[in-house]
C-alpha cells in the first residue's frame, strides 16, 4: 500500500543520519501507538481481574498477584450485561438491514432507473447531511412517539432506532456513486434477456457491488454500535436499553471492579470483529475517504 517514494526519498534513506532519524521517529511512534492503542485496553482488563483493595493500594501494578475472574460472571449475570449485549445485537442488526436496504434501493432508483425529479430527491437526501440528527433529537423524538399520519407510538420499541438509521445520506451517496460507475451495457443486456427491474437489482447490480455494500455495512454497524444520544432519548425502558446506555446508568450504581469487568465485556465484540477483519475495515475506510 505504501508507495516507495514519500517525502523521504530512496536517496535520503541511504544517508546514515537521515536513516537513523527516520528509524527513531518511527520507533517512538510505534511505542506511542502501543501506549494509546493497546495500553487502555490492557489496563481495563487488568482492572477487571484485580481485587478492589489492590486496585486502590497499588494502582500502578502491571498485573495483580492473584487475578480474579469472578467479576466477569458477576457482571454478565448480576449487572445483566449479557441481556444488554443481546439488545445491542438486535439494535445493530435491524439498523444494518434498514440502512443497507434503503441505500441500495435508493441508489439503484436514482442511478439506474433515473425517474423524473430524481435529482430533486437526491438533492433533498444530500441536504440532510448538513443537519445531523442529534441536533434535531427533540423533534425526532416527538415524531417517533407519534408518527405522523399513522399515529403510532414507536417510543421504547427498536423501530424507533431502526427506521431513523435508514436516513443516512452518506451511505445513499456511496451506493449511488458506485452504481453510477457500473457499465450500462450490462443493464441493457439483462433487460434484453428478460430480467425485470427487481431481478436487475438483485441479480446484476447488487452482486457486482459487494465492495460498496461491505463499506455501507461497516459504517452502519459501527455507527449504530457506537450511537449513544439517540438510544438514550428513544429507549427509556431499562429492560430494552442497548449496552452503551445501560453502562452509563450502571456507572453510578455498580462497584468499580464489576463496572470495569462489564466494560471489558461490552468492548470485546467490536474489538474482536476488528481484529478478525481489520484489513478489510482499514481498506474500506480508505475507500470512503477517497470517495467522500
Amino acid at each position: 500500500m505504501t508507495s516507495l517514494t514519500t517525502f523521504v526519498s530512496v536517496n535520503d534513506r541511504q544517508r546514515p543520519g537521515v536513516r537513523a532519524a527516520v528509524r527513531s521517529v518511527q520507533g517512538l511512534t510505534l511505542i506511542l501507538l502501543l501506549l494509546i492503542g493497546i495500553g487502555p485496553l490492557y489496563w481495563m482488563i487488568k482492572g477487571a481481574v484485580t481485587p478492589p483493595t489492590e486496585l486502590s493500594n497499588h494502582p500502578l501494578a502491571l498485573w495483580p498477584d492473584r487475578p480474579l475472574l469472578g467479576n466477569f460472571s458477576t457482571a454478565y449475570t448480576d449487572l445483566s450485561i449479557g441481556h444488554y449485549l443481546m439488545n445491542t445485537f438486535l439494535v445493530v442488526g435491524g439498523s444494518w438491514f434498514v440502512q443497507l436496504f434503503i441505500s441500495s434501493t435508493a441508489g439503484f432508483a436514482l442511478s439506474v432507473l433515473r425517474p423524473k425529479f430524481g435529482k430533486v430527491i437526491y438533492g433533498a437526501i444530500l441536504a440532510t447531511m448538513f443537519v445531523p440528527y442529534s441536533v434535531n433529537m427533540v423533534s425526532l423524538f416527538m415524531t417517533v412517539i407519534d408518527v405522523p399520519l399513522l399515529h403510532l407510538n414507536l417510543g421504547d420499541t427498536y423501530w424507533a432506532l431502526w427506521l431513523p438509521a435508514g436516513t443516512n445520506a452518506f451511505t445513499v451517496l456511496l451506493a449511488k456513486q458506485f452504481f453510477d460507475a457500473l457499465p450500462k451495457e450490462l443493464f441493457d443486456a439483462a433487460r434484453v434477456d428478460g430480467a425485470n427491474t427487481w431481478q436487475l437489482l438483485t441479480k446484476i447490480v447488487l452482486p457486482m457491488s459487494r465492495p460498496v455494500l461491505a463499506v455501507i455495512s461497516l459504517l452502519a454497524v459501527m455507527h449504530s454500535w457506537k450511537d449513544f444520544i439517540w438510544p438514550l432519548v428513544a429507549i427509556t425502558d431499562p429492560q430494552k436499553q442497548p449496552i452503551s446506555v445501560a453502562l452509563a446508568q450502571l456507572a453510578t450504581q455498580a462497584p468499580q471492579d464489576q463496572l470495569i469487568a462489564a466494560m471489558v465485556l461490552a468492548v470485546a465484540p467490536p474489538v474482536l470483529v476488528f481484529v478478525v477483519c481489520q484489513k478489510y475495515i482499514v481498506a474500506g475506510l480508505g475507500f470512503t475517504g477517497v470517495k467522500g
Binding site: F7, V22, L30, V138, M142, L201, M263, A266, F274, G289
Partner: protein
Amino acid sequence: MTLLTHPRRTAAVSKEPAKRAVDRRRGGALRKQLTAWLFLVPTLIVFGLFAWWPIVRSLLMSFQKTNLVEPATWVGLDNFRALFDDPLLSTAVGNTLFFVGLGLLIGFPAPLILAAVMSTVRRGAGVYRFLVYLPVVIPPVVAILLWKWFYDPGSGLFNSALGTIGLGPYTWLESSDSAMLSLVLEATWAGMGGAVLIYLAAMVGIPGELYEAAEVDGAGIWRRIWHIMLPQLRSVIGLLLLVQLISTVQVFTEPYVFTGGGPENSTLTVLLLIFRYAFQDGQYGEAAALSFLMVLALALLSAVYLRATRSWSKT
C-alpha cells in the same frame, strides 16, 4: 431469448403503425417512471418521516409551546426570548466553542503528523494502522468510563503515574479549569484513528515523481513536506477540518457521561443544554429554538467551507 411482452423491445421491433408504437412507448415510459418511484417508496417514507419532517418540525416547534399532551400553540418569538434570557445559553455556547477550539488545537494536527510518520513506514505498516484505529472501535461510553477511571484523583492511572515523577496531583474532571481539557484529551484519543487513515490514503496517492522532481531541484525533507505534501493534501485537510468542526460542535456524550455538565456548568455544551431543556425541564419549545439556531450555525459552517473549496479549485 427475448420476452415479447417487454414493452420497449416490442415497440422497437414491431411493424405496427407508428401511432400505436408511440402509444406503447408512452405507456412503457410511464411504467418505467412508476417502477422507479416504487423503488423510491421506502426511501421517501423513511426520509420523509424521520429526516425531512423533523427538520421542518424543529423550525415550527421553535415558534410553538407544547407539552406533549395538549395541542401546540403558536407563541411567536417567546421561545427565543426565553432562550436569550437564560444565562446558561452563553455559558453553553462559550463552552462548546472552547471544546471546538481546543479540539482543533490538539486534535487537528495530531492525525496529520501521525499519518506523515506512518507514510514512511515500509515494514509493519499494518501494525501501525491496526494500533491507530483500535481506539475508534471502542464504544464511546466504554471509552469515557475508562478515562473517567484514569482521571480519578485518588487511585487513577494518570495521577498515580505522574505522582511517581513528582507531578500533581491534578484535579482533571473535578475542577472547572481543567474539566474541558480532560474531555478534549479523551475525545482526541477516541476520534483520531479515522482521520489518520484518511490522511494516510491521501498521502499514499501523491505521485512519487513530484517528490523526486523536488529532490532533483535540491529541496530537503522539510521543504518537500511543506511545498509538495501539504499542498497536495489541501482538499483532504479542508474536508476533515469541516468534519471535525461539525462533529465537535455537537459534542454530547463526553460531557453527559464524564461530568453531567459540571463542575459549575463548565462542561455544559449546547447539545447538553438542548437535552436538558427537552428531557429534564419539558421545555420543548426552547429546545427546538436552540436546535434551530444550531442548524443555522452548521449550515453557515458548510456554506463557508463550500465557498472556500470553490476558490481553491479556481487557483
